[in-house]
């Protein structure tokens, strides 16, 4: 009989200070030396981490009522528009929103120095943010205008709600055209001048639980330096892609929708970032604990950069025009070496996701669990998996 553990049993060990917790990086040599079965006997939890640009992110705020009361219909925070199509003083600030005054790509490539993600970072950094709100006025909400300076402490509820984070694998972006292009994957020099990738590889949460055997709705995670939860599967969750013989998805696949209290988070782990010629995004730190339920779960968690591959995609034409196919696959070990070969050419690589910070997140989460501060949660419901039949549909453009 192979090893079998439950999350309940692991939690008891955590509370007794007896749980064995290692990072996904530390697990690799251990699994190689002991074999999956024995390693699964020894290890209770494996921690993962990632710190990369995650555009589909944002925060809900309840800004508090004014006297007289007001139903916000337009809200700007440091000049960045927040969505108000919800109740009176509730707003949603999207990470990629830019001020209406930003010239965007009019002076190509635009700089996009400030946006929603930077407002969130400023709030986390304790800075005062300039609030401007207007309204049409109603009998119950007569006030029409307010201006003020607010801090995170002044806001009632502030929680991050990110519709799509933690992509399970991602494209390696290259440029086959002969001039530089400016993308959400960074600056891509012409003629295969560089190859940019964006995953923590062997530390990346969903690559280490490729069939969502442990992560599910309700899973407690490290989010932005505080604790968060998996709220749902993320948008564009695409679990039915091809997997390698070792089990890892070969293309972008699953995603997570995450929620968490912004007031517990730190600016170090939630950063506003600017992609030249593309726009604003948010760099988000996420760490997911993997309870080692059996040897199979352990074997997946022990996959190495050498075992994990990503597809190489041309962003000059293939990606923007939605042309299927890719220019081959490459392992994360090769990507991290600093140079890969594409069409017979040596191409330097760069990462957009921070591996040193991913490691720090996995270490931090490990520390929390070892200290007994962070217990694991049973998923309330599994995420749609490889047998769900889910496919991301393109938009059909129809006339009436």
């Amino acid at each position: 009989m192979g090893v079998r553990k439950t999350i309940k049993e692991i939690n008891v060990k955590i509370q007794q200070g007896k749980a064995v917790v290692v990072t996904a990086e530390e697990l690799i040599p251990l699994a190689a030396a002991e074999g999956a079965e024995e390693a699964a006997r020894q290890v209770d939890v494996v921690t993962t981490g990632t710190f990369g640009p995650m555009c589909s992110s944002g925060a809900f705020f309840n800004l508090g009522h004014t006297t007289p009361r007001m139903r916000f219909s337009r809200v700007y925070l440091n000049g960045v528009n927040a969505y108000t199509g919800i109740a009176a003083v509730d707003v949603f600030l999207g990470a990629t929103e830019i001020p209406e005054t930003d010239p965007a790509n009019k002076n190509f490539p635009g700089e996009f120095n400030y946006g929603g993600a930077h407002v969130i970072e400023d709030l986390l950094g304790g800075k005062e943010v300039y609030l401007e709100a207007t309204s049409y006025g109603t009998d119950c909400y007569p006030r029409k205008k307010v201006e003020s300076w607010i801090t995170l402490d002044d806001i009632n509820e502030a929680y991050l709600f990110n519709p799509r984070n933690c992509y399970q694998n991602y494209n390696v972006a290259v440029n086959l055209s002969n001039k530089a292009i400016y993308t959400y994957m960074g600056i891509l020099k012409g003629d295969l001048g560089n190859a940019n990738y964006c995953s923590a590889g062997q530390l990346s949460p969903l690559l280490k639980d490729p069939y969502f055997k442990t992560v599910g709705i309700g899973t407690r995670v490290f989010l932005g330096g505080g604790t968060g939860y998996v709220a749902w599967h993320g948008t564009q969750h695409n679990p039915c892609v091809q997997h390698s013989d070792l089990g890892a998805p070969r293309t972008p696949a699953g995603t997570l929708a995450l929620i968490g209290d912004l007031k517990q988070m730190e600016a170090r782990w939630i950063r506003g970032i600017s992609y030249l010629g593309y726009g604003v995004s948010m760099q988000v730190g996420v760490g997911v604990p993997i309870p080692i339920l059996d040897a199979e779960v352990l074997a997946w968690a022990a996959l190495r950069d050498e075992d994990l591959t990503a597809p190489i995609v041309d962003y000059s034409e293939g990606y923007p025009q939605g042309i299927p196919g890719n220019l081959g696959e490459v392992s994360y070990a090769d990507l991290k070496s600093g140079e890969i070969e594409i069409q017979g050419k040596r191409v330097p690589t760069a990462s957009l996701s921070s591996y040193p910070r991913a490691r720090e997140i996995a270490e931090t989460l490990k520390g929390w669990i070892l200290a007994g501060d962070f217990l694991l949660t049973e998923p309330v419901q599994p995420l749609p998996g490889a047998d769900s039949g889910i496919k991301s549909k393109p938009l059909k453009i129809k006339g009436k």
Partner: protein, 135 residues
Amino acid sequence: MMQKKIVLFFPSTVVEQPFIYHLIKDYRWMVNLLKAAINPRKEGRMVLEVTCTEEDYQRGVEYLQSSGVSITHLEQEIVWVEERCTQCGACAVICPTKALAVERPSMRITFDDSKCIVCEHCLKACPARAVEARF
């Protein structure tokens, strides 16, 4: 005698001409080459410390300008703000001199000021705006 630090920018059309030879021989510049990034048939940059008379300096500058080389005085330096750096690594493929480079296997970014030619490519390539130009 005067001493100045300058940056020369060579467009690709003139990059292979022997400017330094002429500056030394015809304009009596004493040149200390601090940094250079010159590629055949591509644009190039060179950071020099020049010692010569004010008059020779002016003549040399005119010679360079008439040949299509642009000159800026090195009053600017590039500063890597480590606390703002998220250690992503996006700058490393943009930096032409490996002043910003990835250390392996830790994958940490390091900045070696002595290799920087103040080309400023990294300023906007860094998503976290962790590199700044200071005067």
